[in-house]
Symmetry: D2
Subunit: 290 residues, 4 copies
Amino acid sequence: MIHSVAFIGLGAMGYRMAAHLPKHFETVFVWNRNFSKAEQHATEYGTLAVSLQDAVQADIIFSCLPTSQDVEALISGLELKAGSIWIDCTSGVPESAKNLADALQTQQVTFLDAPVSGQTIGAENATLTIMVGGDAEAFEKALPALQAIGKLIKHVGNSGAGFAVKAVNNMLLAVNLCSVAEGFTTLKAHGVNLGEALDCINASSGKSGVTETVLPQRVLNRSFPLTFALPLLAKDTGIALDLVRDAKLSAPVIALTQSLIQAASDLSPAESDFSSAVKLYESWSKITLE
Amino acid sequence: MIHSVAFIGLGAMGYRMAAHLPKHFETVFVWNRNFSKAEQHATEYGTLAVSLQDAVQADIIFSCLPTSQDVEALISGLELKAGSIWIDCTSGVPESAKNLADALQTQQVTFLDAPVSGQTIGAENATLTIMVGGDAEAFEKALPALQAIGKLIKHVGNSGAGFAVKAVNNMLLAVNLCSVAEGFTTLKAHGVNLGEALDCINASSGKSGVTETVLPQRVLNRSFPLTFALPLLAKDTGIALDLVRDAKLSAPVIALTQSLIQAASDLSPAESDFSSAVKLYESWSKITLE
Amino acid sequence: MIHSVAFIGLGAMGYRMAAHLPKHFETVFVWNRNFSKAEQHATEYGTLAVSLQDAVQADIIFSCLPTSQDVEALISGLELKAGSIWIDCTSGVPESAKNLADALQTQQVTFLDAPVSGQTIGAENATLTIMVGGDAEAFEKALPALQAIGKLIKHVGNSGAGFAVKAVNNMLLAVNLCSVAEGFTTLKAHGVNLGEALDCINASSGKSGVTETVLPQRVLNRSFPLTFALPLLAKDTGIALDLVRDAKLSAPVIALTQSLIQAASDLSPAESDFSSAVKLYESWSKITLE
Amino acid sequence: MIHSVAFIGLGAMGYRMAAHLPKHFETVFVWNRNFSKAEQHATEYGTLAVSLQDAVQADIIFSCLPTSQDVEALISGLELKAGSIWIDCTSGVPESAKNLADALQTQQVTFLDAPVSGQTIGAENATLTIMVGGDAEAFEKALPALQAIGKLIKHVGNSGAGFAVKAVNNMLLAVNLCSVAEGFTTLKAHGVNLGEALDCINASSGKSGVTETVLPQRVLNRSFPLTFALPLLAKDTGIALDLVRDAKLSAPVIALTQSLIQAASDLSPAESDFSSAVKLYESWSKITLE
């Protein structure tokens, strides 16, 4: 039975995810480096803003930070409660998940890597997809907590498997982004009506999340709303490439795409939405996708 | 008003597409190089199996052949009826469409490039997507004929635009096929459960037609049913790359993917389904996607 | 025996190449679209500036123009002398060489594709390398004329083979340019002394024409002297990629490099030296190779 | 003044390199994991085969092992002599060089990364190129020892810089190998005489170490003599790619080449010469480079 739950890291995703927990659990601790956000959350949702050391005494501890390095720095030195489960929703590094799982085991704490997809709207509606790596028994125990924030929740393998699936998902997003930018720049150069072409492709075999939502909702209307920063996508493509390299595999499209997204990120302001990677191609071709 | 319609080229797609025409038009001619197929169609659907020269006297002439070269060879030397419209459903070459449109105009015939997507099931149910390039007025006139076989029907631009959209669609399919093969081989190398991973990705931003249908229905079940041959996909990626090159654009992911699909095609038996391109990666990694 | 020789196209290369011919042959005609250049050449070197139709009555006709299209346009409509040999030193298209060889044969004229390498300094010193495709017997007959301008002169195959070798050579130059730019940008990012690194690599297995001459003489000293324009290198990489495509081969590094050189060319002023392709990488990395 | 020198790791390179040291220094220790090789060296060249702990009491310690991991494992736990200099000739990892330099500094020992190029023939003739990273003062002190084995000896930067230059050199070798294989397969498909084409290119701007030596001496004669194993080249391309990634740069040709060399290595027996990477392309094209 889960009596207490903690949520650490109240960013755009975490703030919304933590808001659902009081509906399901008696005691919900929240903590954030900028602590005023934790206090605001407590006021708004009836959670308890406490010190980090107090928060991590919960039965279930969620974390949601920018990178695995942040999670490692946070955990290092903390005294945890034996029997608790740490659920890390960061889009992190598989290797780091394995190390943290080993490290926490010495305190009899189980670490699950549980990155999410679904963006802020999914966090708000508790309809996130959660891909979980780590101990299967702990996954079963943690399921009620996961169900409070997600809809499709899958145990995909051992420690690191959750992070691996997220990295590959985001790599596929990146590949689709680049190839759609290439394809649609080309169509425009040949005088094709992009809106009609998009409708056709979305009814055909070449469709993807990028053609269905990213292109019409972020690119063609030139809005590029910042919900997922391009440097973070560049980081995730790097994680995917590292997985390829660790397994001594050959993945040329992934390797090339990592280069392109890195170039796009290096050329863009840090606060650019991932969809603005198409501007790399626009700068080459002097063609605007609109 | 359309009184007579002809359909030339009764392959896996054409045979099914032509079957819908008698429901909408009084006179439907069919012709096929192997003429017994035309006679069989006439028997089965009440169409009229006639000579090529007779067939092309219809108000609307559909063609559906393997390549633009086949269409050019067929049309060359034919005497057409002034005022008729030729609708070519081949997955063809944009440059060829422009040339044919110019050539037929001398006989006062309008050429529309109108490739379709939706596979044999879409042909059977008259639910094809049709992307049409060419004269807008002729498109409007031809619409009743197009509606007899398709569901989503779009005029995407001038001559060649239809072929261009189809080529880009198939290129995106090819990119997705390669990147999904790379990503899932990598996940399997790291011990991830592919079925669960696929469910997660299909609920996330990395999804595509390949993750939604090709991977589960053709690859993971090792069926690779032949519905669209890999050499034809290689041909289509070449058409897309030619569009890039003609416009002097830079499309590195497209260029690389063309190379990979060509290598996969060169290594496979000619009668391989396009989905068997994943076997290129399986041969490198000794990992089977199942 | 060769009595008369003509040289058509007195650009930076042709002007210098034609200057050697009067030392070896009695009658040397020159022609240039901007005819004052032909007259200047006559004054300077004792050649004869004549009309195009007169020039092509020579036993041996050299041409050296920007592209194969220019050569085709020039030849079309000319009346040639049976038994003469046309030596085209343009960096041209293999397919065009085959067509021109067939076309000239109807006038009993032999066409040899004979592109040169060695730059303006090689033209000045008559030390060019000449790679010749076409009829072997005509090659032997033309050898004295070729020896007047070149040093290493090779018959590499049938019509088009000379252009093919030149295109592949320039593609290798392009690949080396991109990879050296990538490698040295990376070394500089890591604080390595580029001059010392270059000395080491030039004594090691990674050396190339680019590390030996292009990088030290054009890039690191920031001179980028215009001797071979980047758009022409982009054109040549396209010819190489077409050769790959025609043979239905897979050449991913060539395909990618064509994309990158095209992007570099699209981003640069038309009058940029090929070596300025490195600026594509400099713009991405904000690192200057100096 | 250098009184004593040690050489650790008597493989194909190290055995030959260590042979020159007795000509220049009074006391030369040698050590090898398979100790009989050290004893054989002592007999053959008058060196002293001693224990590892004794060997590392020399003023200068050379090491030459397969990977940086081997060097790290070897050094860990050794007690070194303050004031000595460790010169590591392994083709290693720049990051590891920095770590080892820091670690040895605590024992007042200086670590120099000093990879070599020139193959076994260069080791035999003491004509190696040595690219050295680390403390400039230590480099000057160590110079007499380096001069005993090398000819061109360069201080290229701080710790790790030597390894970085070697990795980039080997990456350029890999790029040249792939692009030459692509280019020459294409030329052969078009009926070009490869030997004549090679002569032309070696006199032109596309030449490289690969066209000058690897292609004629290892590939076209089908000898593929094992002097540098393909899996080690794959490892080195990985080091180069890591340098790119660490600096958050975009290097698409490097990234793609790493994939291709990895695929070639995965498909080949472990004891394959690096030049057999061309067989990846031969398997695709069914064309043999001979």
